[in-house]
């Protein structure tokens, strides 16, 4: 219990003195995970919606695979991305290993199936409501996807936030592809792993509380921006 209390105190101390290293790794955490979120959402939201309205031969199979990929082990993703980006791997010439870009690539792979799968679940229900209307209006497939995404935007935000939560709290993959290099690829989660390794539980836990606070702030900010939970609009 003492260590948890020391961790809380450490978190307040770090935030209060605006520790330069803390700000740097916090910003990098945000930068990597938000970039991954934007890319993953751009892929997953249209794909999940398309999957809900389109009937094709291997649809069930595709959905089953997508759902299974939600549980993709980050450490395996990290290892595969590592081997692909390594200088002796197929994309080695790009020199991306141990850069924030490599971390973004790994996180996109991890969260895209999650966002797509939640999107598909939500859109399937919305589509059964909108089906007759959109068909009778003689809309194109593209128009249907756009209409569904727009009207289902609140549920889709939940999907995106779930993806963000998984990305920012992820450590296995980015540790491998980023290398946890100080001032280059160190983020909150890898710093926590490092400090735990040094037995400095107070600092590790302090960083942990900063991470939780950050996730909370991002969620609240997105909710505020999109004006959900307001009178009359929920």
């Amino acid at each position: 219990m003492n260590e948890i209390w020391a961790g809380v105190q450490e978190a307040f101390r770090l935030i209060f003195i605006l520790d330069a290293d803390l700000i740097e790794i916090t910003l990098r955490s945000l930068e990597v995970s938000l970039t991954a979120l934007v890319i993953a959402s751009a892929l997953a939201l249209p794909f999940g919606t398309w999957l809900a309205i389109r009937r094709f031969r291997y649809r069930r199979f595709t959905i089953a695979v997508l759902n299974a990929l939600m549980g993709l082990p980050p450490v395996v993703v990290g290892l595969v991305v590592y081997l692909l980006l390594s200088r002796s791997g197929p994309f080695g010439v790009m020199g991306l290993l141990f850069t924030p870009t490599a971390m973004i690539i790994a996180q996109v792979i991890i969260i895209t199936p999650l966002i797509a799968s939640i999107t598909h679940q939500a859109m399937r229900e919305l589509w059964s409501e909108y089906h007759d209307l959109l068909i009778s209006l003689n809309t194109t497939k593209r128009q249907r996807v756009v209409a569904l995404i727009w009207d289902g935007r609140r549920t889709l935000m939940t999907a995106a936030l779930a993806g963000f939560g998984r990305a920012i709290g992820e450590v296995g993959a980015i540790m491998i592809v980023g290398g946890n290099i100080d001032h280059a690829t160190r983020v909150l989660t890898t710093a926590i792993a490092l400090e735990t390794g040094k037995g400095d539980f107070a600092l590790a836990l302090g960083l942990g509380f900063v991470l939780i606070t950050l996730t909370l702030v991002v969620n609240l900010a997105i909710h505020a921006l999109s004006r959900t939970e307001q009178e009359g609009t929920w």
Partner: protein, 271 residues
């Protein structure tokens, strides 16, 4: 904030590394956990930056992984401690040469009550024999690191074979810090480098029980990755870093680095 430029050796428009996330005019050095956990890297890297302008990006890994990174060309140089593996690295053409820089020593850690009574051992091998006889819980790194290799060498010196040990011998497959955390939780014996032990914050009921056998000395060597094998490596910076690491200035910083008044590393590079 710019995410990164793809070429790790492209010039960075800013002088201070905070402004250049991702690779700047940097040298990637894979070094062992003990070098970083001891805190020595926190003292050396800023001095290197100041004297040579080289921004050393440190990848903290076990010796086994450091050598793999060097073989793949993912780093420009490695700083490790496992002579056999290093010599193979050079003879296979992955490194240009091997330069000894400094040494520290390994120590045997265990519960302060010392149930296996290793405190009074004459040699490290005898201490390990006593642990095996008492079947006292022992945590092994088990991660193919330099420390792990050294531990295995000491067991074979003691004429014992860890693969035949019972459940008291626990290979945790983690870095030095995580392994020390395990040992602390299990009240187990463990072999650690002195620096990591002194800097470790979660000692619990553990204490330093045995040290001083010359067999426990731990030589660090610097090996630049061969540019003939990997054309993209920053060979020029690797040479300058070697000059610095073997300089008088490095000697002063390394020898004067202490924790609780104890010197951790001894500079022994030959000009």
């Amino acid at each position: 904030m710019e995410i990164s430029s793809n070429d790790p050796h492209v010039a960075c428009p800013y002088d201070d590394h905070h402004s250049c996330p991702g690779p700047g005019p940097a040298l990637r050095l894979a070094a062992t956990t003990s070098f970083n956990n001891s805190g020595l890297s926190d003292v050396l890297l800023p001095a290197i930056k100041m004297d040579t302008g080289i921004d050393v990006q440190l990848l903290v890994v076990g010796t086994g992984q450091a050598i793999r990174l060097g073989q793949a060309g993912d780093v420009d140089a490695i700083l490790v401690h496992s002579k056999t593996a290093e010599e193979a690295f050079v003879s296979d053409g992955f490194g240009t040469h091997r330069r000894e820089i400094m040494y520290n020593d390994f120590v045997l850690i265990g519960p302060v009550q010392d149930p296996a009574m290793i405190k009074t051992s004459a040699t490290a091998a005898q201490a390990l024999q006593r642990i095996a006889t008492a079947e006292a819980t022992f945590v092994s790194r088990g991660d193919d690191s330099g420390t792990h290799k050294k531990e295995l060498a000491l067991w074979s010196e003691a004429a014992l074979e860890p693969e035949q040990f019972g459940a008291w011998y626990k290979g945790v497959g983690s870095g030095m810090g995580a392994s020390l955390n395990s040992a602390s939780g299990l009240d187990a014996y463990i072999m650690a480098d002195r620096a990591s032990w002194l800097n470790f914050g979660n000692k619990g009921g553990l204490g330093l029980l045995f040290s001083g056998d010359p067999k426990l000395f731990n030589q660090y060597a610097y090996l630049p990755v061969n540019p003939a094998k990997h054309g993209h490596v920053n060979a020029e910076a690797a040479v300058r870093l070697e000059h610095w690491l073997t300089s008088r200035r490095a000697k002063d910083i390394i020898n004067k680095y202490t924790i609780n008044g104890q010197a951790l590393f001894i500079f022994n590079s030959q000009p």
